[in-house]
């Protein structure tokens, strides 16, 4: 092994962090928003919406993420009538995919809130929307924070597959450097180190937020 030969290329690989972070952050936030909506469909009283949200979740959890990514990217002319760029395709497919997982996390978190909380709010005449927003969700969020953080970490790691549609994230850049130098092990190990450090930072951040929330109990 000879890490010296990739030192000049390290800044190039490191710049991939921003690409990866951008994809993960935007897709994560979008996925969270869609996930909340889907979870409301799931616990709501409209049968069609329930059916839709359950079907959505089942399909996105039941097929490979890389397949979803490739369909959205390579089939976009057929799907949307235009070729979208790889970056957008990456964000879109990750957002749609994580929405399925996040909606399950939120649904479980909401349903884990003591039934008595709902009844107490109802008995006071509180309308459904306000009850959800002020009473149920704040308590549910506490339950789901660890699982949500996990999903975010998974997303960060799995984002490496955007390399198959040519997005120049950390992974892609390491690969490019590898083929440039005819030596793959060093740049790939370096990419691995970056991912690992990112996951560690996220894990600690999650623990910190959790600790703060527990203190407010």
């Amino acid at each position: 092994m000879n890490f010296e030969q990739i030192i000049p290329s390290m800044p190039y690989i490191l710049q991939g962090i921003w690409v990866t972070l951008q994809i993960v952050l935007i897709a994560g936030l979008l996925g969270f928003a869609i996930g909340i909506l889907l979870s409301f469909f799931k616990i709501g009283r409209v049968p069609f919406l329930r059916w839709f949200a359950d079907g959505y979740t089942s399909i996105f959890r039941g097929t490979p993420l890389v397949l979803q990514l490739m369909i959205i990217y390579y089939a976009s002319p057929q799907l949307f009538g235009v070729q979208i760029d790889a970056y957008t395709a990456a964000i879109l497919s990750f957002a749609l995919n994580s929405a399925a997982y996040i909606s399950e996390i939120i649904r479980a978190g909401i349903q884990a809130v003591d039934k008595g909380q709902r009844e107490a709010a109802m008995a006071l005449g509180v309308p459904y929307n306000k009850m959800m927003k002020d009473v149920i969700l704040p308590q549910g969020m506490k339950n789901i924070l660890p699982a949500l953080m996990n999903e975010f970490i998974t997303l960060t790691k799995e984002s490496a597959i955007v390399t198959v549609i040519g997005v120049t994230d950390i992974m892609r850049r390491a690969y490019i450097v590898g083929s440039d130098k005819f030596s793959f092990l060093e740049p790939l190990l370096f990419a691995g180190l970056i991912y690992y450090l990112m996951v560690l930072v996220l894990t600690f951040a999650g623990k910190w937020v959790e600790g703060r929330m527990r203190r407010s109990d």
Binding site: E119, V126, Q139
Partner: protein
């Protein structure tokens, strides 16, 4: 004030309430007793539509609340309910619990709601706990907050479902005392309880239920001396 006619309630195949007829006058304190599973909670919960009656008619004040057109939220904001397990909102302070419904349901201003909330907390003897979170309170204190929270909506009727059953014995009295003073203010109250001493002292009337039926209604003094039905006699023998 409250009129119940031919009330039935089933959960699936299980018939829990069978032909309940009752009338509760304004300012009256009615205690409901009966064995476990006899339908006491279900009866109470039908009165504020936490359970939807299978058939029958309930009139509260001037409103027929069982009619399809009736908005249950309006009813619930006029009928207070206190639960066995308090169900305080754990992420809100004591004062936050009490002021939440006036703020969000009635649209009371923050200043007014706080003023009302503090008055009510003083009434239940918890002024010093206004800014605590519920997990810092004892069971008796929690239940008193729950009573204040229900009163904050200025209800016409208060329903209590075994308000002292989850409490350690030494805390029962403080809650019953609050309920007694509430009864003295002329509040219409309906109370499911196993506290027979309290029932005898405070109730204007006792309703005895068994197997989903309203078996007997009587004046408490007479009821506890000599209930007229055999089923009530059996029950009293077991609990007294």
């Amino acid at each position: 004030m409250i009129k119940v006619e031919g009330l039935y309630k089933s959960f699936g195949k299980l018939e829990v309430l069978k032909d309940i007829n009752a009338e509760i006058n304004e300012g009256e304190v009615v205690v409901v007793i009966g064995p476990s599973g006899s339908g006491k909670s279900t009866f109470l919960r039908c009165l504020n539509l936490l359970e939807e009656p299978t058939s029958g008619k309930i009139v509260i004040g001037k409103d027929e609340v069982t009619s399809k057109k009736f908005n249950p939220q309006k009813l619930r904001s006029e009928v207070g309910m206190v639960f066995q397990h308090f169900h305080l909102f754990p992420h809100m302070t004591v004062l936050g619990n009490v002021t939440y419904a006036p703020l969000k349901v009635k649209g009371t201003t923050k200043a007014e709601a706080d003023k009302l909330g503090k008055e009510l907390l003083a009434k239940v003897g918890l002024s010093d706990k206004a800014n605590e979170f519920p997990n810092r309170l004892s069971g008796g204190q929690k239940q008193r907050v729950a009573i204040a929270r229900a009163l904050a909506m200025e209800p016409n009727v208060m329903l209590f479902d075994e308000p002292t059953s989850a409490l350690d014995p030494e805390m029962v009295k403080e809650v019953l005392d609050v309920m007694k003073s509430l009864a003295k203010t002329g509040m219409t109250m309906m109370i499911v309880t196993h506290e027979m001493g309290f029932a005898r002292e405070v109730a204007d009337r006792v309703i005895f239920m068994d197997e989903g039926m309203l078996v007997e209604q009587a004046d408490p003094i007479e009821f506890f001396k000599a209930p007229s039905t055999e089923r009530a006699q059996d029950f009293l023998q077991k609990v007294l």
